[in-house]
């Protein structure tokens, strides 16, 4: 929203038919009789949407609507939506506590482990988007940053055999973090130095990462594994593999990366809100002009924010390859979309630590619950379920985006009303 500068005359104007529980209620501005000084209707609405209540309600409503529409589609295919959703839910393992028999609890725990394995990189990928966003940038490059992190961790994990396990894991993770940070940092540097838009550069860097990976692991590639007929890397040696999560079972047990992801959320929150670095990043994100006036180097913060974003995404790659993949084939690189789902997660989670946690859980559950392996084929055919999952994910994004649309329309409406941002005055360009 454009902040109409100056506010030379009173602007006590909340939208008519005001949004219930809008910020006006708790921001007592009564002494001057006006509402928040700089708020046009759209801005107020935007504030409400990002406020505490709106911040929870709107994403929840978006998700609910998405499931509702998805249910209608299920109905149209001749299946019972409630049954389908129940089957999907059971496939996620989130119902683990509801079972009384040891057997079914074990089976649900197995499902939940799969959900949490997917959850881990989604959280880290979402932080990569969110951190840049708080600095006013849209990081589409989570995928590329995730991939280079994965490659770096893989390289270290495959080599250096004989290192002590904790050290080896640490080294591989640090390599991944560094690689991701460089990948993000390149885009940040380009923005700071020549003003290249981060959306363009990060998308291009994604492709460089994808094709770079193809080259590394393809037949005859420099990092191709021992089998000359398979375009696949070597396997991460045992000392670099992440330990299992206590109590994990099955062929693909949960690794401790999930703890790393949750800790990363805490780190994200602390950096942003408790450090001078986060202060600068947020200041630049909210208002680069004011930040510059306050002596905050705007370009350097662009660089730092994208580098740190990349570091988180790179760490996500490390968790995947050291935790359960252990190896990567060229077609894995092509089909991977963790970084992109991360954008959706950040969007739904509103770039807040807690929001990302729940949004990542939802997306991970959707993906696991509808996978062929997890879903009860009797109730709902998995091939349909896969489509349903994609559809619901897309609908959630659509509805979360619709909120922005509402705000935008409101803002546009304001423009045809008094005190709009029309200014014909020389010398004061934004």
């Amino acid at each position: 929203m454009s902040t109409d500068e100056g506010s030379e005359h009173e602007r006590p104007d909340p939208p008519e038919g005001g949004v219930p529980g809008g910020p006006g209620t708790d921001r007592s501005d009564a002494p001057t009789g006006g509402g928040p000084g700089g708020g046009g209707g759209g801005e107020r609405l935007a504030r409400w949407f990002s406020g505490r209540i709106g911040g929870f309600l709107v994403p929840a409503a978006a998700a609910f609507l998405a499931f509702l529409v998805g249910g209608v589609v299920v109905l149209a295919t001749g299946h019972n939506p409630l049954g389908a959703y129940k089957a999907i839910f059971e496939g996620t393992g989130l119902n683990v506590a509801s079972y009384f028999s040891e057997d079914s609890r074990q089976s649900a725990w197995g499902d939940l482990q799969q959900t949490l394995i997917v959850f881990t990189p989604l959280v880290l990928g979402a932080i990569a988007v969110a951190f840049a966003f708080r600095c006013g940038m849209f990081n589409i490059g989570g995928q590329g940053q995730y991939l280079v992190g994965l490659f770096a961790a893989l390289y270290v994990g495959v080599n250096f055999d004989g290192l002590a396990a904790p050290l080896h894991i640490l080294l591989a993770s640090v390599a991944a973090v560094a690689a991701g940070a460089i990948w993000g940092g390149i885009a940040g540097f380009l923005k700071a130095a020549v003003g290249a838009h981060e959306v363009i550069t990060t998308i291009m860097l994604n492709w460089i990462a994808v094709f770079g990976g193809q080259y590394l692991f393809e037949l005859g590639g420099p990092l191709q594994g021992a089998n000359p007929s398979v375009p696949r890397s070597e396997t991460v040696v045992e000392s670099a593999q992440l330990p299992e999560f206590p109590g994990s079972t099955g062929l693909q047990p949960l690794h401790i990366g999930v703890l790393v992801a949750v800790s990363a959320l805490a780190v994200y929150y602390v950096i942003l809100n408790r450090t001078t670095l986060g202060y600068g990043v947020r200041a630049v994100g909210f208002n680069p002009e004011a930040a510059r006036y306050g002596g905050i180097p705007v370009g350097r913060n662009y660089f730092l924010a994208l580098a740190i974003s990349g570091a988180f995404a790179g760490l996500g790659g490390a968790m995947d390859v050291l935790g359960w993949k252990f190896t990567v084939a060229t077609n894995d690189i092509q089909v991977s979309d963790v970084g992109f789902i991360g954008i959706a997660v950040a969007l739904l989670g509103r770039n807040k630590a807690v929001g990302i946690f729940f949004a990542a859980l939802l997306f991970a559950a959707l993906r696991t619950g509808t996978s062929t392996r997890q879903l009860d084929a009797e109730t709902f055919p998995p091939e349909l379920a896969g489509n349903l999952s994609t559809m619901i994910q897309a609908l959630i994004i659509l509805f979360v985006g619709a909120e922005l649309l509402i705000v935008y329309i409101w803002g546009a409406r304001r423009r045809f009303r008094p005190a709009g941002p029309v200014r014909i005055q020389p010398g004061l360009k934004q």
Binding site: G24, S28, T32, G37, Y293
Partner: protein
């Protein structure tokens, strides 16, 4: 006024969440009357007029036009009822001509096409009838702000307005343009139009209004005839207490020069030379005011002095330290404080809390932070202390800056800049768009700072402010300092210099 009122607003109440913007407001307008609506920012003037113009619906009360109850639910209906409004920010399309702007939405047609000739004819016609000269064929972007305002007024008249609402019409005008506007208002009145004039400037009210209605905190305080009203009596009605209108200050006793600007040239973003070889000095214990019409290089000069923009040549020295081309932070470290001209664009981060805003210059330094860790407790306690010292109302350290009214936002900026004890203070538009009470407070603080030996450079488009605060006045025109005056200069003389008339004299 013996005539029956043309328009009556009776018992208008409008509530917004948490706030009563209009509380049982009464207002009436006689035919052919200029009625001023006076009040501080946030007093409810605009809300009331937006109700009249159909943008809001009152929760209670009624509007009576020609003695009949009227329901106005959109601007379109207001226009049909003969109510026109000229907003403070013009609603013109810069690339279209004057005539095209005026006839917009009710264009004369020739078949399916716009009949431009007829449009220009009609515009020339009403322009002549009301004595508002404009060039119908000129593009709006190429004419002055005062002319643009005329276009807005003509637009309302073209649509048949009998009642004209002018929302703070002089805020964007030079003194000359303002007096031309007053002439226009006079001639409209002679033609039988009724005018509602919204303002918070007392001298304007006394100059042109027949009657004055004062609003305070959403309530009608009083309606008084101009005869017998004085600036003091109106200010008291507006603020609810005695207000010191003239800044009471002892004569300056300047010391050594703390801010030196030598032959500074600044190129603006269009590549034009916005500041041309300006030199000036501000000594400890004096306030030097720069007067001028907006857009004559003041902004660029302030940007250069405060490190926001690198000068193309010249030298800037703050408290003995050469800061030419240094960053904002280096300038601040050298002892410079800067109240920026736009508190929402630069002065504050609206989504930050007040505590966060207060430390923006030194959040990296002890005691705001240690080794990169912020100390929220220090930030809160400093904010609490400064907000109290500067009488910031409407929120505490945890409040978002956006939630404060303009006057209180500005007090936060002033608190931060003065609180850091700078030796040189650059105050650009320190009281723009804020209410009388806050203006009085900020003016007093600036004089106090002066008396403590700070060097203050004041840049303002408000002549009254420059005249009442400054110990010396410089006039800036087209990027140059065209004259220096003592504070007893008349506004007229300054006004002439501000529009280029003083050039020869200064040379």
């Amino acid at each position: 006024m013996a005539d029956a009122p043309l328009l009556e607003l009776k018992g208008i109440t409008k509530r917004f969440p948490g706030v009563v913007a209009n509380d049982d407001v009464n207002f009436e307008l006689a035919p052919g009357e200029v009625h001023a609506l006076l009040g501080e920012n946030g007093a409810g003037k605009s809300t009331l007029m937006n109700i009249l113009y159909g943008l809001y619906h009152p929760d209670e009360g009624e509007i009576r036009l020609h003695g009949k109850a009227a329901r106005i639910s959109s601007p379109r209906e207001a226009i049909d009822l003969g109510i026109g409004m000229v907003h403070q920010h013009f609603m013109l399309i810069p690339v279209m001509t004057v005539a095209e702007n005026i006839v917009l939405a009710s264009e004369p047609k020739r078949g399916p096409f716009l009949n431009l000739d007829e449009a220009e004819e009609r515009v020339a016609d009403i322009s002549k009838r009301f004595g508002l000269t404009v060039n119908p064929g000129a593009r709006v972007e190429s004419i002055s702000v005062g002319q643009q305002q005329r276009v807005e007024i003509l637009k309302a008249l073209y649509r048949g307005a009998e009642i004209l609402i002018l929302d703070e019409p002089t805020a964007v005008l030079t003194p000359q343009e303002a007096s031309e506007l007053f002439e226009v208002i006079g001639s409209l009145k002679e033609q039988g139009k009724s005018i509602i004039f919204i303002t918070h400037k007392l001298n304007e009210v006394l100059e042109i209004a027949d009657r004055i209605t004062v609003l305070r905190r959403g309530k009608t305080i009083d309606t008084v005839p101009r005869a017998g009203a004085t600036e003091e009596s109106l200010a008291r009605l507006m603020v609810g207490r005695e207000v010191l209108l003239r800044v009471d200050k002892p004569p300056a006793s300047p010391g050594k020069a703390l801010l030196q600007v030598e032959d500074v040239r600044v190129i603006d973003e269009r590549g034009l030379e916005a500041v041309r070889e300006v030199s000036l000095q501000v000594r400890a214990g004096e306030i030097v005011g720069i007067a001028g019409v907006d857009g004559n290089g003041q902004t660029e000069l302030v940007d250069a002095v405060t490190g926001l923009r690198k000068p193309a040549s010249g030298r800037i020295v703050v408290a003995g330290e050469d800061v030419t081309g240094d960053s904002c932070r280096e300038c601040f470290d050298a002892g410079l404080g800067h109240i920026p001209e736009d508190r929402q664009l630069r002065g504050l981060i609206l989504d930050f809390t007040l505590a966060e805003n207060i430390v923006i210059h030194d959040f990296r330094d002890e005691p705001s932070s240690t080794f990169g860790w912020l100390h929220p407790r220090f930030m809160l306690s400093r904010a609490r202390e400064w907000l109290k010292a500067f009488d910031v109302r409407g929120g505490g350290p945890d409040t978002l800056a956006a939630a404060l009214s303009g006057g209180n936002q500005q007090k936060v900026v002033v608190a931060r800049e003065i609180g850091r004890e700078p030796r040189v203070l650059v105050a650009a538009q320190p009281t723009r768009g804020i209410d009388v009470g806050a203006i009085e407070f900020i003016h007093r603080r600036l004089v106090e700072e002066r008396d403590e030996g700070k060097a203050i450079l004041l840049v303002s488009f408000e002549l009254d402010e420059v005249l009442s605060l400054s110990d010396r006045i410089l006039v800036m025109y087209e990027g140059e300092i065209v004259g220096e005056y003592a504070p007893d200069v008349t506004p007229e003389e300054l006004g002439i210099a501000m529009t280029g008339g003083g050039r020869e004299k200064a040379a």
